[in-house]
């Protein structure tokens, strides 16, 4: 990275940092917030599922995941299950994740299912 680019990046960070907390990677956010229900492997088998009335989505299930558009995935992460007529057990993460982090998460989910919408 050239010095001028580095300076630009630092300047940009100086503006962004006071606005909120550090932006985290989708992998790290998944490991912190999603794994508790969706599991370490993303297969819907997290430690919380035993007594759940509705089981969490298996993110490796290409068939189910390709039935959801990226916009729907964004919406359900940000606003919770009821926003797309799914379970209240899926909470809204909008207060925890920024819109950019949620967009990253949607991209990450596509790598877990190895699928795209409608594929």
């Amino acid at each position: 990275m050239s010095n001028s680019r580095r300076l630009l990046l630092l300047t940009a960070l100086a503006f962004v940092a006071p606005l909120g907390f550090a932006t985290e990677t989708a992998v790290d956010n998944y490991k912190t917030y999603c794994v508790q229900c969706h599991g370490l492997q993303g297969n819907g088998n997290g430690i919380n599922i035993r007594d759940m009335s509705v089981q969490p989505r298996d993110h490796t299930d290409a068939k189910a995941m390709s039935g959801r558009s990226d916009d729907q995935l964004f919406k359900v992460i940000k606003e919770g299950g009821p926003s797309i007529d799914k379970s209240v057990l899926m909470p809204r993460w909008g207060g925890v994740l920024s819109d950019d982090e949620i967009r990253d998460m949607v991209r990450y989910l596509r790598t877990l299912c190895k699928c795209q919408f409608g594929s």
Binding site: T32, Y33, G39, Q41, I47, L89, P91, V96
Partner: protein
Amino acid sequence: MTGRIFLVSVFAAVLWPSLVLADAGSAILSKDCVGCHNLKGPAPQTLKELWERQGPDLFYAGNKYRQTWIVEWLQKPQRIRPAGEFYGQHIQSGAGGKDVIDTSTLKPHMALSKEEATSVAAELEKLRPHDDLIAKEKVSVAPISKQMGEMVFDKFQGCLACHTIEANYGGLSGPELYTAGRRLQPEYIASYIRNPQAWDPKSWMPNKHVSDANIQKLVNYIEVLSTESRNVK
């Protein structure tokens, strides 16, 4: 002169035990507790910091706990978070790809004598950086049936996903809630439900935007649960 000496002696006799108590409490905190608990704040600002957490943050213990409970618990500590803290460090993929808690990584909490526990609790009580958040809450004690409470807790809010409401029933990534009424101040419970991130910005408990009315119901339900679990014991 004799009178003065007498007065000083009286003051010393009254104040000395509390000073010794306070000193003992801070000595234990800085020697034995600081290794696993954050006593100074702030709460973790990044996920990496969050993952290093080995026990609940205590820098706002005076805003959070009931002092009498701390004294009891420290003498006979029992696990409150089934998967420890941070939960992600204590789970693994088990048979059939199902995650399980790796209990081998969960360490028991040290126990203190009654005197030690009392002095530590007195010190923790002083840690109140979030009086402002507590002051915003007004909890009114209103009896709620267990059925109605469970309806709000489970069906409307989905809290059961992460919390147990009786031993071995419910989710495991959050602390057990059937003892929460005994452990926690009601205003803290209300405030944390209202906005977990105000207390712990990277908390894995989401803000569910619970209405005032339902926050009241949840706090009262948690109280019902703790009364019930106390009676069982």
